[in-house]
Symmetry: C2
Subunit: 337 residues, 2 copies
């Protein structure tokens, strides 16, 4: 047994509405050694992602609910301290799902090696990780973008959204981003080459702004947010439009099911395809996706942005910040150098 004390952030209670610091607690445990086939890891970065909110509820969802009084799981990046698996050695950088812990002992099979020469290691939970592949497969496999088409993405300033828009540009689309901040929108326009941006907090109704930004209607709507923003976009869909349904962040913290105009009549009249998806649906093609995303990053066609918060103990605050709509790009926590 090593003498290291591990710190873990546990889900203490299920959030009602927006999560608060009180929903989480920290404990300490002696760190175990790596058994056969296992790795002992020191965490360097922790990823916080909107989908985690769903797992904090008990409701039936695509991923199992988090257990109370257990560490919150999710993507993390770490350095191997001890390896009991022939494929890894001490000092290797790996990404896995051990979540909100300073250290972890995990089965080597649940990890993937990260090449620090290829890109900064933090990208393994960003552009070259789950959010990157989510943008990649959702946009390409469901959105199927064609040159000259109009792609609208909501949550455009988030980790997934800003990649979706850039992939749309690579494929020759007119790209329109919707976010809730002028700073984000400026970045999308000036740095990422979006064709138009809409601030949903502006006085002008989203529907009106969309009509100006999408004179030829909307062919692809990559939906990260749901709610009234999506209602407005769906109104403008063209015949044979596609909706990669990726997130509904505007609704995650609702206590009751939300009511809105029924979308089926429009989806029927315009013969629209809508597909809810998870990055895991495309696990078999992940290596191919990472390769192409990596080459786009290298060629400068795909830029990414990280919002790094320092300090393990600030992980809950970093997570809670996802729901204020203020973070630009991929939100992550730097635990140690």
């Amino acid at each position: 047994m090593s003498t290291i004390q591990n710190e873990r952030i546990l889900l203490a209670s299920r959030p009602k509405g927006v999560p608060t610091a009180e929903n989480f607690t920290i404990d300490q445990q002696p760190l175990e050694d790596a058994k056969e086939g296992q790795l002992q890891i020191q965490t360097l970065y922790i990823s916080v992602d909107p989908y985690m909110r769903g797992r904090m509820s008990e409701a039936k969802s695509y991923a199992a609910s988090y257990a109370l009084n257990e560490p919150v799981s999710g993507g993390s990046i770490g350095k191997v301290l001890q390896s009991n698996d022939s494929r890894y050695q001490e000092g290797d950088i790996v990404v896995g799902g051990w979540g909100w812990q300073r250290y972890a002992v995990v089965d080597a099979d649940t990890c993937r090696k990260v090449d620090p020469e290829l890109a900064p290691i933090s990208t393994a939970v960003g552009v070259l990780g789950m959010p990157g592949l989510t943008a990649y497969f959702g946009t390409l496999r469901i959105g199927n973008p064609q040159p000259g088409e109009t792609l609208v993405v909501s949550g455009a300033g988030g980790a997934v959204g800003m990649l979706v828009g850039q992939i749309g540009k690579i494929k020759g689309c007119r790209v329109v981003g919707i976010s809730g901040s002028e700073e984000k929108n400026r970045y999308l326009l000036d740095e990422l080459g979006f064709d138009a941006v809409i601030n949903y907090k502006d006085e002008k109704p989203v529907r009106e702004a969309l009509e100006e930004a999408c004179p030829d209607g909307v062919d692809i709507y990559f939906d990260n947010v749901g709610g009234e923003i999506s209602d407005a976009v769906i109104d403008l869909l063209n015949t044979n439009a596609r909706i990669p349904l990726c997130g509904q962040i505007s609704l995650y913290n609702n206590e009751k099911p939300d009511i809105g105009p029924r979308i089926q009549p429009t989806l029927l009249k315009r013969t629209v395809l809508l597909k809810g998806f998870l990055v895991g649906d495309y696990a078999a093609d992940a290596a191919e996706g990472l390769k192409e995303m990596g080459s786009w990053v290298k060629e400068g066609k795909l830029k990414y942005r990280e919002n790094v918060i320092e300090g393990f103990e600030n992980t809950p605050q970093a997570f809670i910040g996802l729901f204020s709509g203020e973070n630009l790009g991929k939100q992550l926590v730097k635990v140690t150098d």
Copy 2:
């Protein structure tokens, strides 16, 4: 010029809510001769279909709005009186889109020959026509039914719905039909081999009846009706379920957009595919579909039912009857023998 007087039923005004007899009027016109490449036809059967309600409105839809004071167009079957096209001769039976007229002169290219030896000619607007192909492509191409899966179809006693259920049975699914009449449900259970039926007019809530009828959840929901019935089915969808979105008859006569629970959170969590579709989307494969449907009819695997109303002048009433939920099977009008 022939001496025949043609009678035509025109759209006199756009319906508000459920269509009434006052929305239609009859005129008379001398029948013209067939010019080069044309056929002069006497109508034998007229098809009335729910989608026509959409075309009577001015709203943007998949098909152009009907013009006022013009004959209502749609599927009709007729006998060739004069042919000016080498592929057709007098006496041939054809199906085309000339609609609510006793006679018509049409381009031969817009017609398809019907083989009276293969099946009763009325099937050319039913099981071996538009409704049949709608059921075929929606169920197979979007629904993608697998043995042991549960398929739920709403509007199950209608022209499309009863074929959907039977195709589901051919593919080895548990099939549950929802309709609004005991007579229809009895027929679906006793004659067509549905596994369970639900009468949405029963006292028992549809949701509760569905839970009993679908102990393993719902894998395919073929939606003909929309509204609260669809809300209940969507609640019970399994992971990776599919929704061929074919009709929304419960909403067609609404004057205002309908409000209901947002479906995107469920479609996201269960990674559902929803596709609005039109039979025309599969036009390239229509011959293949007709061949397989024809062989199923011949083998007795696929039964069909027609609700035939006699008399050209009763066409508007036959159409209006579609919205009372009382008609069993394909609704059509017999104009003459």
